[in-house]
């Protein structure tokens, strides 16, 4: 079973809610203050500039109020969270080096198996630290770097310093400030000019401890003419208390390069998932976000692309499923800051069992971004009368020579559609599944086959019992 399970998704309901006994090399006390931040920095043996960056970010975090829009975040007690948990000393370069207990976890999730079969490289993060990172030799030889961000800071400090915080500055928002203060782990990817990594790199993120926070920081730098596809998956145990996941992802796509970033987010439904993801696309570069949100209690995440030079392109595909107790508030931002930039946003949301799913987005066209084109399409399915669907797009057009469209529909699965399929001898629940699969098809077809299969199975599982 596990071998076919790159996403940690199974037909049984949230199989990945299991937990390991807590065995940590180091577990910081709960809460957040200057002392904790300094301690994280010194344990990691960081250079002085990074320590200053963290402390500056902490100050901003403490000053900044919670956002008043979007999902309700007032229940988060920032002083009741463990900000740093170090599970192990050192990091494995082969799976055998990973401590037994942790390895078992990733075995159950099927990560080592997936690496062998169809990935160019794999990273695995457990709590605050990366426990495994490996890149197949052929890519290493071409100069591709795939490390956890802490190692990258040690081994390539100049690159990290050059780009860190340039796409998402700590002052961007409260959660970005928090991440900047206490970040640990995450993936660092550097693709040299002209190198095309044609099979995906994957990182897997796992939270285990109760009241834990995970704050990975991911950076991807695509030099001119390069290509990379990065996939991340995530799970966590089910606790009665809440977990907090707040990542920052910064991506630089240089001239003519293309980067695709796929997320399959399947956090347990007690996880706050508050993530800042942003890319800058230069001349003729392409940035693609494929963002699947299935798990979590609350997700607020708006993958963004700043198109800053002519010919840049952006594509955001968002798929969201909100079940019982979930409030999914994903979206997209596309910023047209240069002439002849193009973007497409497709959002598909499904709400069921009292869940709340939606889309929140921004299309911004700056003066001078002549010939910009943007099309946004949001479709929502509501499967029962207790659920809710919200659409909040904003279009700000400050340039005459631009063409911006937005369309959205909200509907239920129509009786006619069901009847048609059933008249062909298909059972009601299967018919429902087929219709939902067709609904999400535009997003799912963009995933690698193994992931598409898993995602379809996951949706089928979430759909169970939806035909009465």
């Amino acid at each position: 079973m596990a071998a076919n399970n790159p996403l940690g998704i199974d037909l049984d309901h949230y199989e990945w809610g299991f937990r390991d006994p807590e065995k940590y090399v180091f577990k910081a006390r709960k809460g957040l203050d200057r002392e904790i931040v300094e301690m994280i920095s010194s344990m990691k043996g960081e250079p002085e500039w990074m320590r200053a960056f963290r402390l500056h970010s902490l100050e901003h975090f403490l000053r900044r109020p919670l956002p008043t829009w979007g999902a309700d975040l007032t229940q988060i007690d920032f002083n009741d969270i463990y900000y740093y948990l170090k599970p192990t000393d050192g990091k494995g370069h082969t799976w055998e080096d990973v401590p037994e207990g942790i390895k078992r976890t990733f075995d159950r999730l099927g990560i080592p198996e997936a690496e062998k079969k169809y990935l160019a490289g794999v990273g695995a993060q457990y709590e605050s630290e990366s426990v495994y990172h490996n890149l197949k030799e052929e890519w290493e030889k071409l100069g591709v770097i795939f490390l956890d961000t802490d190692s990258a800071l040690r081994e390539h400090p100049d690159i990290v310093r050059e780009y860190l915080g340039t796409v998402v500055p700590p002052e961007d928002n409260k959660m970005a400030a928090l991440n900047s203060a206490v970040w640990s782990g995450g993936s660092f990817i550097y693709v040299p000019a002209g190198v095309s990594v044609d099979i995906p790199l994957q990182a897997y993120f796992r939270i285990n401890a109760e009241r834990a926070g995970q704050f990975e920081r991911t950076m991807i730098i695509c030099e001119p003419g390069s290509y990379v596809h990065y996939i991340e998956g995530c799970t966590a145990p089910v606790y009665t208390t809440d977990l907090l996941h707040s990542a920052v992802v910064e991506i630089i796509v240089k001239e003519g390069a293309r980067c695709r970033y796929t997320t399959i987010q399947n956090w347990s439904t007690n996880t706050y998932n508050l993530v800042t993801k942003r890319a800058v696309a230069y001349r003729d570069a392409t940035m693609e976000w494929v963002d699947g949100n299935i798990g979590s209690k609350i997700t607020m995440k708006y993958p963004s692309v700043y198109m800053v030079e002519p010919g840049a392109k952006a594509e955001v595909l968002s798929l969201v499923f909100a079940g019982k107790g979930q409030s999914q508030d994903p979206g997209a931002k596309v910023i047209h800051a240069a002439p002849h930039t193009q973007s497409t946003v497709v959002s598909k949301s499904i709400a069921k069992d009292g869940g709340r799913a939606g889309y929140r987005g921004l299309v911004k066209v700056y003066p001078g971004a002549v010939g910009s084109k943007c099309a946004v399409r949001c479709d929502a399915l509501i499967l029962d009368d207790r659920s809710r669907s919200d659409t909040y797009p904003s279009m700000e057009v400050d340039e005459m020579d631009a063409s911006i469209t937005h369309e959205a529909t909200v509907s239920k699965v129509s009786d006619e559609q069901l009847f048609y399929l059933m008249s062909r001898g298909i059972r009601a629940d299967e018919a429902m599944n087929m219709i939902v699969r067709g609904f999400i098809e535009p997003v799912v077809k963009e995933l690698p086959l193994e992931y598409a299969v898993e995602l379809n199975r996951l949706i089928a599982m979430e759909m169970e019992g939806s035909v009465g």
Partner: protein, 440 residues
């Protein structure tokens, strides 16, 4: 003449009391005005209470308390449109004219009066039909404490039209209400209250205008439309304020009972800054609301429309279409929300916003929103923002049409699908002519 100029606090608690005394208002009106004034004094500016809705509006240092009420009458040179839309007495069922915040004239045809239709300004209605006014004026539809400008409106309303259509009455010809402000640097708070009883039908056309440039003038109006079961109302508000007018925080809100139907049209052509909420609450099954809007900002005009289609009952429908153009350095903001409350099954809601940007430097924001809490429904919205299509211009020019004329034809075509839905030819041709003038 104007009793003062903006700057110092011109309106005070005493102003409110003096207004009540001058109008010889009963105690309940006095008490309500006083309570609203308290709310005004306590409420911060709406950017604080409703940041999302107000952050795109550049109010600068606007101080709503710094405007005096018009005292006496000013420039009586009325704008062309007063009298244009329903020129002949035989074309209208009634007419109310407000000059500088007070009633100047009213007429109602004998046929309408026989049906029991009541038409006056609100101040007169307070004296003649106190119960009707008392039960409805800012008690169920619009609330004084919604935000600071609304509180100020509730404390200082003057002028505005009261129209009551009894059960089953059918008024075929339109009733026209016109509001003219000829004084610079003061504030106007017109209030319209329309009650259409069960099965009645009526058309109300409201025209607003003010004198041209000069010291800044403030208007904050409210229109309450109450449609009882099966009532059919057509409502149009056409505004051609002078450029010194800032219309801030105005509201047009309708309550629709079972099977009621409303067709509304809002046209904004004038004003330096215009910010209006247009809302329909569908409160009974079978209610339906059509909401049309046209705005055209030129020069440095700011135009903001916030619309709400609120489906509170099952089997209701709403259809909204707002079309706006911006030219020069004008800025338009359209934000529209469809909200479907739990249990409002079989809702059919549609919302479309189209924007045309005619100059470099003009800006247009569009925010079409959905909040859906029922499942058996159909809701769609669409928004598109574009510019004059070069190919269309070229096509027309290749037929020997001048560039200017071609641009006009395309803009006219852009607004055509709203103009075509206006049943009165006189209103249609008037709007076409005004759009052409603004385009030059």
């Amino acid at each position: 003449m104007a009793s003062g100029s903006p700057g110092a606090a011109c309106v005070t608690r005493e102003t409110v009391q003096a207004l009540s005394t001058r109008m010889r208002e009963p105690d309940w009106v006095r008490a309500r005005r006083a309570a609203a004034w308290d709310a005004f004094e306590q409420l911060p500016m709406p950017l604080v209470t409703h940041p999302e809705k107000w952050r795109r509006t550049e109010l600068g240092d606007l101080d709503p308390g710094a405007f005096c009420l018009p005292n006496g009458t000013g420039d009586t040179a009325q704008p062309r449109f007063i009298g244009t839309i329903a020129r002949e007495a035989g074309e209208r069922a009634g007419l109310v004219t407000h000059l500088d915040g007070s009633l100047a004239a009213r007429e109602l045809t004998a046929a309408a009066a026989r049906q029991g239709v009541l038409l006056s300004d609100i101040a007169t209605a307070v004296r003649e039909h106190p119960d009707l006014v008392r039960d409805h004026l800012m008690t169920t539809v619009a609330m004084p404490d919604e935000h600071r400008f609304r509180a100020l409106h509730a404390a200082l309303w003057t002028g505005g039209t009261f129209l009551y259509v009894p059960k089953g009455a059918e008024v075929v010809l339109p009733i026209v209400s016109q509001t003219w402000l000829g004084v610079q640097g003061c504030a106007l708070f017109p209030h319209t209250l329309l009650i259409a009883e069960e099965g009645s039908s009526v058309t109300l056309v409201e025209l607003f205008a003010s004198t041209g440039d000069g010291g800044r003038t403030l208007s904050s109006g409210a229109v309450e439309l109450i449609l009882r079961a099966g009532a059919r109302v057509q409502y149009a508000a056409v505004q051609e304020w002078g450029l010194s007018m800032w219309e801030v925080g105005s509201l047009i809100r309708a309550h629709l009972a079972r099977d009621a139907s409303l067709r509304s049209l809002v046209v904004a052509l004038g004003g330096g800054l215009v910010k209006v909420d247009v809302e329909s609450q569908l409160r009974g099954p079978g209610a339906s609301s059509e909401m049309l809007g046209v705005y055209f900002g030129t020069g440095g005009q700011q135009v903001n429309f916030h619309t709400l289609q609120e489906h509170r009952a099952p089997s209701t429908s709403s259809d909204l279409l707002y079309r706006g153009a911006v030219k020069d350095t004008a800025r338009a903001v359209f934000s529209g929300l469809i909200r479907v409350d739990p249990g409002a099954q079989k809702t059919n809601a549609f919302q479309a916003n189209r924007n045309l940007i005619l100059s470099r430097g003009a800006r247009s924001d569009s925010i079409p929103m959905l909040e859906i809490m029922a499942d058996d429904l159909r809701c769609t919205h669409g928004s598109a923002t574009s510019h004059l299509d070069d190919e269309q211009v070229f096509y027309l020019m290749s037929r020997g049409i001048s560039r200017k004329r071609a641009a006009f034809m395309i803009v006219e075509g852009f607004f055509a699908d709203i103009f075509d839905r206006i049943p009165r030819e006189r209103v249609r041709s008037y709007l076409r002519a005004r759009v052409a003038e603004k385009l030059i």
